[in-house]
Amino acid sequence: MAKSQPLSNSTALRDETVLRRVRQLGSAHDGLREWRLQRLTALALIPLGLYFASSILWLAKSDQTTAVAWLSSPVTALLVILFMLAGLGHALVGLRAVLLDYVHTRARLVAASLLVRAVVVIVAGDSILAVLKLFLGR
């Protein structure tokens, strides 16, 4: 890096040259993809979540036949799969942000992130299989 005028520590944060020298996302290295995924899934979850929440609260007391009939319709099946995918993607980013704040050693952070990721993938796979089974088997 080219030598420029020496930076005084007290003004370093406000010094334009420091900002200009930051490449890409600076010391954060990554995170823009997660940031966008979190916002995109949040937007998708507004209608999907309202649909799913109203449906399951309505179904909470109904019997299996009603619930199966509900889930066997193609529109419902698609919306429930999309809801679970968007919700779990959103949860993955959010939970990782929590881990980054509270888990301070590298090994534990990697282990916890992998565990969360594994659970999310399993839950997503299970839900999709369950919906597909009902939808295809109707």
């Binding site: 507004i46 019997d63 839900s127």
Partner: protein
């Protein structure tokens, strides 16, 4: 003086503020909803499996504990939804002034209560 790492400053280092309380609540409800999604997936699986598994799951949901969990889930859901919209508005660069942050915070709390109450009036009495 032992200085704490970032987030554990609430009870002893900062005076209570509604804005930071709501921020923490957003995280807590997010974690609760993530855990709740495992139960939702369980419900979908029991539907697909049918038979005894569904009967047992259904009995659990209809029990007091099941209804209480569902009630908690609905509060967490509505709060996270409303406060999430507040966050999306902030992402657009609006509403950062302190009085606006307070006003939108109270609006989120009010909307959560109204949505939860209306939903459960519908679930229990419709």
């Amino acid at each position: 003086m032992e200085r704490p790492l970032s987030p554990f400053m609430f009870p002893s280092w900062y005076r209570f503020q509604i804005t930071s309380a709501l921020s923490i609540l957003h995280r807590l409800t997010g974690i609760a909803l993530a855990v709740g999604s495992i139960l939702l997936a369980w419900w979908l699986i029991s539907l697909a499996a049918g038979g005894e598994l569904f009967a047992a799951t259904h009995a659990f949901i209809a029990s007091r504990i099941g209804m209480l969990l569902l009630f908690g889930w609905s509060i967490a859901f509505f709060y996270h939804l409303c406060n999430g919209i507040r966050h999306l508005v902030w992402d657009m660069g609006r509403g950062f002034e302190l009085r606006h942050a307070y006003r939108s915070g109270y609006a989120v709390l009010g909307a959560t209560v109204v949505l939860t109450v209306l939903t459960w009036i519908y679930v229990l009495f419709a």
